[in-house]
């Protein structure tokens, strides 16, 4: 089966026109004085979805999360949770919980009391609280740390306490603000999978804010890419990467080579693009771009082949000179300066330990790619 598909093949409520939205931002706007943090934004999130809000810092993604938690009220528009308008409901009455970026663990309380805090607010009977806290400690594997204070824990342990505290109340939605931001790389990768398992086993809806695209790609069912308070694209990780909707998205997620040009002539999705200086690119992914339209052709580095001679039968092949090589271990990245000065980035997996006749600096080289390897962007 050919697909850009999601990994959870059986879970795609966004493709189901009858699916009931769980969280809805309906033309939500948030202004702080003159500054518009969120601009007329509409977004739908489904139950049990792992949804990521991805964007650079200051793009408004955290404001979205804070509006959902109730710390900010939208200046205009509505936010609905399970059909209920959240306007005017204070944070302490909303069935959502948040895991804070700083963790916000209460420094004067033990791990146990931190986790029990929310349950006590609900007036849950003591034996039940104890049972739930025990369950949560087990879930995050911190049983023997119950009596410790936050400052006696490592960063990773604090993160897990924060997580346990925020899921202890079994919220309808768990909001995670840069949940892994403070962890080092290795721990972050492990924790990503733990979070995914937790979401699956608890059956909660997760909304995570992150600026780390790898994190979003790994964990999320769908990603919303936010820029200047607006949604640029909402799609599965694979779609965002392989079929970006705009130049911004293509450039924001992963590395990309971009050729600006005009559609020379096209029919039924296939087209050739005149990228100037005698470079013509043939593509099968032109969509409905009309002849003469100004477009960008975007292609990922790993989809470009690099060779010292022109590959026989290549549809797209351009000559240039190797001017930079970065050896990364699992792959090597080449920067090739085309004869018109344009720099193309091509990466090659190092599938073998030893390379015959490797390319070196200042070597002449050909970059080539298949006609279905890139996408045409009109926006």
């Amino acid at each position: 089966m050919k697909s850009l598909g999601s990994i959870r093949r059986d879970f795609a409520p966004w493709n189901d026109p009858n699916a009931k939205p769980y969280i809805q931002f309906d033309k939500a706007t948030k202004k702080f004085g003159d500054f518009t943090a969120v601009n007329n934004l509409s977004l739908t999130i489904f139950e049990r979805e792992f949804f990521a809000l991805l964007g650079a810092s200051g793009c408004g993604k955290s404001t979205l999360l804070r509006m959902l938690a109730g710390f900010e009220e939208p200046t205009a528009g509505r936010i609905l949770l399970d059909g209920q308008d959240l306007r005017g409901i204070p944070p302490y009455r909303r069935p959502v919980n948040m895991m804070f970026q700083s963790y916000a663990l209460f420094p004067h309380m033990t791990v146990e009391n931190n986790i029990a805090f929310g349950l006590k607010q609900d007036g849950m009977p003591k034996p039940e609280i104890a049972a739930r806290v025990g369950e949560m400690l087990k879930l995050v594997k911190l049983e023997q740390f119950a009596k410790r204070k936050p400052h006696q824990l490592s960063g990773g342990q604090r993160q897990r306490v924060a997580l346990a505290r925020s899921v202890a109340k079994r919220p309808k939605v768990l909001l995670l603000d840069e949940p892994l931001g403070a962890l080092d790389k290795k721990l972050r990768e492990e924790t990503q999978f733990e979070l995914m398992d937790l979401q699956q086993s608890l059956g909660l809806t997760f909304v995570v804010v992150t600026h780390d695209q790898e994190e979003a790609m790994t964990m999320a069912d769908r990603i919303a890419i936010i820029d200047k308070g607006e949604v640029m694209q909402v799609a599965t990780p694979a779609e965002v990467y392989e079929a970006p909707g705009s130049r911004f998205v293509a450039g924001f997620v992963g590395n990309v080579n971009m050729f600006e040009g005009k559609i020379a002539h096209g029919e039924a999705g296939a087209a050739s693009i005149d990228a100037g200086n005698g470079i013509t690119i043939r593509t099968e992914n032109a969509g409905d771009a009309a002849t003469g339209a100004t477009v960008a052709f975007a292609i990922r580095p790993e989809k470009i082949k690099i060779s010292s001679t022109r590959p026989a039968g290549a549809v797209n092949a351009i000559e240039g000179e190797v001017y930079d090589i970065a050896y990364l271990g699992d792959m090597t990245v080449y920067h090739v300066r085309l004869d018109d000065g344009h720099v193309v980035r091509a990466s090659t997996m190092n599938a073998a330990r030893i390379t015959e006749d490797p390319l070196s600096w200042n070597d002449r080289a050909w970059v080539s790619f298949r006609p279905d390897a890139g996408v045409v962007l009109t926006r």
């Binding site: 938690a69 109730g70 710390f71 204070p90 944070p91 302490y92 009455r93 959502v96 919980n97 948040m98 804070f100 970026q101 700083s102 916000a104 663990l105 209460f106 420094p107 004067h108 805090f117 929310g118 607010q121 609900d122 505290r165 925020s166 109340k169």
Partner: protein, 324 residues
Amino acid sequence: MSNAAVTAAASSRAAAAGKSALARLGEAFVGRLVIIIPYLWLVFFFLIPFVIVFKISLSQTAIAIPPYTPVLGFGDGLSGFVAQLRQLSIDNYVWLTQDALYVNAYVTSVIVAAISTVLTLLVGYPIAYGMARAPAMLRPTLLMLVILPFWTSFLIRVYAWIGILKPEGLLNQLLLATGVISQPLIILNTYTAIFIGIVYSYLPFMVLPLYSSLEKMDYSLIEAAKDLGCPPTSAFWKITFPLSLPGVIAGCLLVFIPAVGEFVIPDLLGGSQTLMIGKTLWNEFFANRDWPVSSAVAVILLLLLIVPIMLFQRAQARAQEQDK
């Protein structure tokens, strides 16, 4: 490099090495001085005086200069010194404990200081809290406004209240004019006036540590509490207040300790009817010229305050650790 240049470089390096050995010795000496000068100063002008106070508290009043006996000294050799030691007695302390006036003065001072401290906390906390919640760009100005009165004379600030509190003073004029009262209130020369004076004079000492502990508190903790279902008032008592406790303790100690031995406020605002130990000590010394008894009063006052003072020092040390 030419030969000559190499030799020159080597010799200059050797000179530098020689100098640095000497310099290192010099620096070790300077490092010592940094400690020794203030250390000796404080030992001589702060610690030794207490020893002298203690010694004189065991002496007897005499009509002489200085007005007490024995004056310890080695003028008569060692045996003379021992003989002088024999003359020391705890009579003054016995006298203090037997005279209800002194006992009362101590007890009253502690109670007045304690009540004033609580009142100062009640007045100061909302101010500090409001300042910590103020927009960040306003905070330095507010902070300066709290500190500014502290720079103006303590004596003047206490004095200002006389004109306000006295029977024909501004407060009574205002209350009479607005018809709140028909008879002037007698506030001046009562304990109420002392409370007002202490709260007023020591307010910055309470507000500053409170503010600094409230201001550095992470606001996301309050948000987390609300997020977990805690309404604002309850979040204040469960999160904000417990976390501001170091500030509360520091502020209370900064008010309580000096207030116990306060002289100017009870003297100017409390009049002759109120009894506080600072005033008693002053009178023993200046009016009665009884140096041994006033020394004994000071020693007991110090013993009374030694625990709070040590608590204060520990709080200071801990705050310092946190800042590092």
